[in-house]
């Protein structure tokens, strides 16, 4: 882009990589991965980040790498989102499947609130209970290809994760710190526990490939 005559400035998430790649202008921001502007729902903070980045455009030569002076931390492992889960609806269903059904109203409320959803790698919200049921089977030792998933396990898990995290945003009274919802999901919900058990079963079956990765690093 610079060769084409565009002046660029990047928000850097990994300082070491930026030092080695030597882009013309970069502002290193010690923020959670996935939040390059630092704080969702905080326009004043985001504006400060942008002004600091754009200030680098005044430098006559590069590369320029500076640090944004404020940092934003992830939630710790002991700081999961506090989020009330729905009561059991159908005792004949697996608890995780029942839980997923029970969160549908919250998911829809969040969709109505923002007009956006990141669900859709594999399917829509109607299919989430079936995806969860497939992971219950994988956790019980059924091979991934025989469990009834319409896709690879990774893509299906991304959709389940999006569904739960967006429902959680509707149930919470604030925007959670990064990782708080992830920790809540993987350690405090039935479906999160199923995904962790499924991950262990996949690894035990020799599936250590990317498309069989269903739990983020650090939540195993």
């Amino acid at each position: 882009m610079e060769e084409a005559g565009l002046a660029t400035v990047q928000l850097s998430a990994i300082r070491n990589h930026t030092e080695r790649l030597r882009p013309p202008r970069a502002l290193y921001c010690d923020f959670p991965f996935g939040r390059p502007l630092g704080k969702p729902g905080d326009p004043a903070f985001q504006r400060r980040v942008l002004l600091a980045a754009f200030a680098l455009l005044e430098r006559p030569t590069g590369p320029v790498l500076e640090d944004f002076p404020e940092t934003v931390a992830d939630a710790g492992d002991d700081e999961p989102l506090a989020c009330t889960l729905p009561p059991r609806l159908d005792p004949n269903d697996a608890p995780a499947v029942d839980e997923a059904r029970g969160l549908r109203a919250a998911y829809e409320r969040q969709l109505a609130r923002t007009g956006r959803t990141s669900l859709g790698m594999v399917s829509g919200p109607d299919a989430i209970p079936a995806l969860v049921a497939a992971f219950v089977r994988i956790a019980d030792g059924v091979a991934a290809e025989d469990a009834g998933l319409p896709s690879d396990p990774h893509s299906a898990a991304l959709d389940i994760n999006a569904y739960y995290e967006e429902a959680a945003l509707a149930l919470a009274d604030h925007i959670p710190a990064a990782r708080a919802t992830e920790t809540w999901f993987f350690h405090h919900t039935e479906t999160g526990r199923v995904l962790r058990a499924a991950q262990a079963a996949l690894i035990a079956a020799g599936r250590t490939d990317f498309l069989a990765t269903v739990v983020p690093r650090g939540q195993e």
Partner: protein
């Protein structure tokens, strides 16, 4: 629990094999108050209902400045998505750019903005020699002078 993704990747950053650039291309920016600014993110964004990103895909998607119904279609599982779910601007600060333009701090907001998908693990030859150049041309055709790059 083991080490979180952010801490892991930062601690092991020096082990990552990266492309090498012996020189740094550098375009002198115009005064910011006169500049047309575009966002290019590697967040793997896409319009809802659009075909999903293929794993390793090195093309880009184009969004009109007024478009907000965007979803996160990135293949990586190792970063926070709830910030984007709650506030699109934490990845794609389109509303902040509009405010800066209204305040006269930047000249104008570009009519179109772009997303690639990061976490690519090969030489990125297609991006460097093909799609990256096409993206630059698209922005130049829109009169863009400054590009803000955000990743996830």
């Amino acid at each position: 629990m083991s080490i979180a993704a952010r801490d892991h990747y930062r601690a092991n950053a020096s082990n990552t094999v990266l492309p090498e650039f012996p020189t740094t291309a550098f375009t002198v920016a115009p005064p910011l108050r006169e500049a047309r600014v575009a966002i290019v993110t590697t967040g793997g964004l896409l319009a809802r209902g659009a075909p999903g990103w293929k794993r390793g895909e090195q093309s880009f998607r184009v969004f009109a400045a007024g478009e907000r119904d965007l979803q996160m279609g990135h293949w990586s599982i190792n970063y926070d998505r709830t910030g984007f779910s709650a506030d699109i601007n934490v990845v794609y600060p389109i509303d902040r750019l509009g405010e800066l333009a209204a305040d006269g701090i930047i000249g104008s907001v570009a009519p179109r903005h772009l997303s690639f998908m990061g976490a690519l693990d090969d030489t990125m030859a297609t991006l460097r020699l093909d799609s990256g150049r096409a993206a630059a041309k698209l922005l130049r055709d829109d009169g863009v002078q400054v590009v803000l790059l955000t990743g996830v």
